[in-house]
Each structure stands twice: as C-alpha cells, then as structure tokens.
Symmetry: C2
C-alpha cells in the first residue's frame, strides 16, 4: 500500500504548502515518484510548481467520483493534481456524511506508479481537510513556533483523534517546525512544548529564510530555484529524516 501523506494544520501560513512542495521535490531528487495533490482552493501548491488552474477538473472528478486529474510537472519525479478557486464549491456540495469519503475513492481509482502521495491541505477543518485525513496513512504537521500556533495545534490533534475512529491507519508521523527563528526566546519555549506533546516526532527545524519566500515566484521548489541555500539544506535534511518514518527508504527491488 503506497503511503498517503497529508500535510495539514488548521493554523494559517505555517508552511504547509512550502513543506508539501519541498518534500515532493526532495524525494523526486532522491529517485522516488511522488503524486502531489493540492486540496486548497487557493491553489498555492500549483503556483509553487508553475501550474495554475481553476480547480474545475478536480471538482468535476469529485462530483462524478472519477479518477483525479493528474498532470506532469517540470520537477523530476513529481506529478500534480491541481486545485483552484472553483474547488471551494466542494464545501457546499459534499456537506458531511459520506461526502467526505468521496476523495478517498477518487484517489483509489487514480492510476500511476507513485511511491507516495502528498496532499497539501487548506487552513481549516472543513470537508476538504477531513477528506484528506480519511484517505491518509500518515500526517505531517508543519508548525510555526508561536503561541497562536500551539493553540491551533491542540484543536488539530482533537480533530485527528476523532477521524482516527473512522480511519485506524491514520497516525501523526511528524511535526515539522517551520519559519523558525532560533535566536528568539519564544522559539525554545515552544520547541520544548512540542517535544513534550509529540515525543520523538519533532523533525529538524526549517529556518526562516528568504530563499523560501522567493522560490514560489519562480514557479519552482526551493531545491531547484536556489540549489545552494538554507531553505534547500533544511528541507533536504528533513526529507531524509522523514523518509524512513514514512517507509520510503526501503529499496524498491
């Protein structure tokens, strides 16, 4: 069973899209085949890999319970399911009940030779995020080391625990500290709290770094836009730390 990994956090602007796109690109660089699914109507993940769309094809696939519309990208090893503003209509169409299982069956019908699927989620606990959680085997939670970030994290954990009743495979694999300022006192206070809440699951940190703020403007992930940069180093390290935890390091032979 290939790994389905959701990158999720109710708190906005913590680095979900940056993490989903960077991990997909790093694992692609290491020879893996990755399907990157954008479930955020903002379509940020697509923008980061140079693909913009309206979201109507993805919405159509969900409405008809078909295979997801997959496009190739310029990023080695990475395919994309693009989103866009029209995807927001899914929130009205699939109001709860069995509606949140639709995405999982669309994903099952989607044919391709991928080692893993990475899903970029929107900043809310709505039907789109719930659908991703129901289809996933593991979760990566990017967290900004901030007080408001901790507040959102508690709500996130409560939501995950209630989804686990319907999807027993689901597990929080890692918490990734993003946009980190290690010279701020608050950084260490929050890191201590994260290690208490998620022992053994806190990854190496991703520093706040201009390469990560500028990469989306080039339509390329940071490891292609700024090969030698703090952003690239940090994500390469985290991608290796995570690979064994999501079962990507086994040799395919």
């Amino acid at each position: 069973m290939k790994q389905v990994i959701s990158v999720v956090n109710l708190k906005g602007g913590v680095g979900k899209t940056t993490t989903a796109v960077s991990l997909a690109a790093c694992w692609g660089e290491q020879g893996k085949k990755v399907l990157l699914v954008d479930l955020d109507p903002q379509g940020s993940a697509g923008v980061c890999v140079g693909v913009t769309g309206s979201g109507s094809e993805l919405l159509g696939a969900l409405q008809n319970i078909n295979a997801l519309p997959v496009v190739s990208t310029d990023i080695p090893g990475v395919d994309l399911v693009a989103a866009g503003p029209e995807l927001a209509a899914a929130r009205q169409i699939f109001v709860d009940g069995p509606g949140d299982e639709i995405f999982k069956s669309c994903l099952k019908q989607t044919r391709g030779e991928w080692d893993c699927v990475i899903i970029d989620c929107p900043p809310s606990l709505d039907i789109l995020t719930t659908s991703a959680l129901l289809a996933s085997t593991s979760l990566i939670i990017p967290v900004e080391a901030s007080f408001l970030g901790l507040n959102g994290l508690r709500q996130m954990v409560a939501a995950v625990n209630s989804i686990k009743l319907r999807n027993s495979d689901l597990d929080i694999t890692a918490v990734v500290p993003c946009r980190a300022h290690p010279r701020r006192r608050i950084h260490w206070e929050i890191m201590d709290r994260l290690r208490e809440m998620f022992p053994g699951k806190v990854s190496p940190i991703i520093h706040e770094n201009v390469s990560l703020a500028e990469a989306p403007g080039s339509g390329k992930p940071v490891i292609l836009a700024f090969r030698i940069s703090r952003g690239s180093d940090d994500y390469r390290l985290v991608s290796l730390w995570l690979a064994e935890r999501v079962g990507l390091d086994e040799n395919k032979e």
Copy 2:
C-alpha cells in the same frame, strides 16, 4: 451608522488576528469604544486578549438569531465576542442562501455604545467570512509581501466584488503590509504590485518583529505587552492612518 470593519484575507498566517487585535487596542487607547468580534473557530483573537472559549455561546446566538454574546476585556475600550472550536459547526448549519445574512441580523440586535466593530475572519472564503463581508461597511486586508500572498489576494478581490452585489456599502478601505522584511528584494517587488492594484489604499508597513510574535503569549495586545517596541510603534501609526479612512477621527461631540 457605526463602522463595521472586517479584517479578512483568504491566505493564512498573514497577520489578520494580530491586526484586528492591535487596531482595537490602539483605538481603545485613543479613547474610542470598540467591539472586537472573533469569527474564527481557532479563537485566536480571544487568546490575544486573554479570553478563551468553546464558541458554543456564539454558535447558539447564530442558531437562534439572537444578540451576540459580548464580554468585557482588560483592554481599555475593547469588548469581545469570543469564538472557539464549536463555531466550526456553523459551516454545516448555515450552508449558503439566507444563512449568510444571519450574522448581520445578530449584530444589529447587539446593544452597546461602540464607535466601531472589528471582525477577525478565518483564512477561508466560507460562510463565516461571507457573513462578515455582508455585515461590513469597510474591509482591511492584511497582506504578507509574498508571491503566494498575491495569488490569494486576487481571489479575495473577486470574492469581494461578488459580495458587493448584495452589500453596496462594502468597500476595501486599506491593504496593510504585515510581517514585512524591507531588506528583501521581494518586499519592494510586491509593494509595487500592491500600490498598482490598490492606489492610495496601501497603509504604512508593519515590520516583522519579535514583539508581535511574543505578545499573544501574554494574553495582551502588543501596545500593552511591549509598550515600547517596533510592533507597538507600527500599529499605532497604522491605527492613526486608518482612523480618518474609516471615519473614526470625527469628534463625537
């Protein structure tokens, strides 16, 4: 007609809550009376003023179309309508149609001597944000000077234009550049774009500053937690720049 100001942006983590809370506190300091309404189930605005809640009272008021539940805070001049995780249920209950006008009629029934109402919105274009837009006379859009931020802004503007058909009072009053890094090249590129898109409406900038990252942990707005700080200076300046634009500078006598 007292001003009803929504602080809104689909993009997450740009500084909506920080801006809503800081403006309320600054105008309170200048002798105004402000009602701060938290419409985000994360309840971040409440956390910033030392009040946490479940959101069940606000949800109840919306369900029964009653006056909003107002509590006082330790912040001079500022009252609060608190949110919390249970507010998320409103998304399922008021699925579109007249459901999004409910908040406006609850606000009309809410009695109090306020000079203005400030609404902190969640990072999505859902029923909660739409409800706020329908009840508002002016909009403040915090923006992080980033490429992904611009992408979300275009969607935001399209959504506002469609709401204007139902609420002709609505107007984008200001775009507030938040978490700014003026030493980055990308900052100036994006600022130029913002001034083209919103001529005359771009406020002075709010710098990225540790005081604003740490203030929420104290349960106080930055002007009370760190009286002398970059964060306080920046928001005091922006609050004065905005006061005349939202009609708060007229003397009440």
